[in-house]
Symmetry: none
Subunit: 188 residues, 4 copies
DNA sequence: AATGAATGAGGCTTCATTCAT
DNA sequence: CATGAATGAAGCCTCATTCAT
């Protein structure tokens, strides 16, 4: 984890460096957590971002803050992807799979902080997405009346968790199999 | 040396302490991991067992060895519980829920070492249990022909993982909901 | 950036900010040192003053410079307070007690830099105050002939030091008791 | 502070090393604190003692614990020195001066923790010494009836504090001068 | 001249692991 | 064999200080 692919950046002091570094740190955190798990040294994130440790601490005072920022990006992506009127629960599973395959350890990080205010807020945003999609699907008769929001939340959680602990090579297969199960479980 | 509930044992030098210490260590490990998660200090296990650190290392040279020993106990319990001829997949889920509710962090520990020879072997023992139960259920027409062993393995894994990261207070509800989903997914 | 009582100042670029910032910094330093001790982060002083760290460094290149400036204010106050012709050693003790009760950590800061040129110079100014008062008191026969300037300096130093490490609630009592001792020691 | 006079000790593991290391650490702490002040790196103490950092932490979980242990030694020395029936307050001042000249920073360390239970207990032991001596001196008419225990405690505290912040070269003179003042203040 | 972001050295602390007794 | 002290690497985090804007 030493001579990493750490971006060679010119030392960038002063006002304008702020947002730029923040982006670099989020990107680096995503990579490092995916690669080494959530207990990866905080310093590894800083190094990967090509940024001093101090800066990392300025932007994200603790692991939770960093995780929440990453989760926020994920939720935003989910919202964006499911915004159009014709999106279904299957589309939701698509993003989840995409994200889980990429972010792995993020889920654990969030679970560890499931009572953090920011995390709770993000969870609510996610729930609203599920609510909206589910209402439409029920309306259209695509899913059975026995299904509620909590069912979908649980399914998504279990899927993401499972993907997070599956070897990269097997993830596609696992995703397919799990989705088939849920499709059947939720069918009308 | 703290106010731990560390077993008060007479200093136990000399012979025959072996198996006794081993049992104490496994018991302690299960408790400590459940309480503090898998990153609990190795020394905490020894202390809880009322045993020197050196002895812990003698019995279990590393975390994986300890985890495997715990997992072995779990698999044995699963085998015992599902041995009778009238046991169904529902009974399998019962043990899983019982164990997951208790062992939490063990799952992660196993996942981290999923390529360890011992762990693989234990996984195979588990798969045989599933195989046997599933064959019987298929025979009896209790589950659909579309279901295979991997489906059950996946379902069990997702369930256990989800329980492991659910607050104790919510576990029963989560277990119930998840089992309903899987029942529906696997129905003939 | 916290819930500090940091002065809300209009961004003050350009001229004439110099003296204003300097005053704000001295005031802030006195407060911060009193509150958190002399190991308070340098940055805390800047923040409390509502001023950038760079400005703090411009005005006071290091801790000693800042301390000397504060001490200078103290000495000036002592000079002012003891200037009138009818002031006695008791009046000197008054200021010392007042200052010690307020500035606490400042004393240590000065002690650490007791060989700094500025500090030495300030010590001399203080000695002159003592000299003048003592001469008058000797003349008037208020103190014994056995007393010299060094005695007063020592007494003042011990008193200030003691007050600096006394809980606020006990300072008044300690001051009274100590002054009684010195009065007796110096009596003619 | 690198290639210190750190004792070259053979690595000494196992049971018996405990007390030996403890002594080495106390000795080292006294030296290091005297030399570099109380903010000396904890690691410097360990190095000077020729001991790993971990061991330092095992013996003294924090600075206060270490300071209390040192203070305990001091109080014991005071008790021993003042035990004989013919000892006077002057003898008490002797030990104080001896100790202050040697331990310097210890005083501050204790002051910082003046509310710690151990420190309070040690303070009580000290007070008892003073009580005993003072009673005898009052009886003998060596000190005035206006003097009480708190007076002596205060005097000792001021003296020790002053010595702690006096350059080594000047300590003898300061001690002499201060003792003269107190002798006069307490005279019958 | 003022600002505050960035830096990185260095102190603190925890633990996995070793090994004398 | 068991014990638990000792070790030291490694992560955490906090500033003092610099400097682009």
């Amino acid at each position: 984890m030493d001579n990493d692919e750490e971006v060679s950046r010119k030392v960038n002091r002063g006002r304008a460096a702020g947002p730029e570094n923040r982006r670099a740190l989020l990107r680096a955190a995503r990579e490092v957590f995916a690669e080494y798990g959530l207990s990866a040294p905080f310093s590894a994130v800083a190094k990967r971002a090509g940024v001093g440790q101090g800066s990392l601490y300025r932007h994200f005072p603790d692991r939770t803050a960093l995780a929440a920022a990453l989760f926020e990006e994920n939720v935003a992506a989910i919202e964006a992807h499911t915004a159009p009127d014709d999106r279904t629960l299957e589309d939701l599973f698509d993003v989840i799979v995409d994200q889980a395959v990429v972010s792995t350890a993020l889920i654990d990080l969030m679970v560890r902080n499931r009572h953090d205010a920011h995390v709770v807020a993000l969870g609510d945003r996610f729930r609203q997405v599920v609510d909206r999609l589910l209402a439409r699907e029920l309306q259209a008769g695509h899913v059975g009346a026995h299904v509620d929001t909590a069912d979908i939340m649980l399914a998504v959680g279990m899927l993401a968790g499972e993907l997070a602990r599956t070897d990269e090579a097997d993830r596609a297969a696992v995703a397919t199999r799990a989705r088939k199960q849920f499709r059947r479980a939720f069918a009308s």
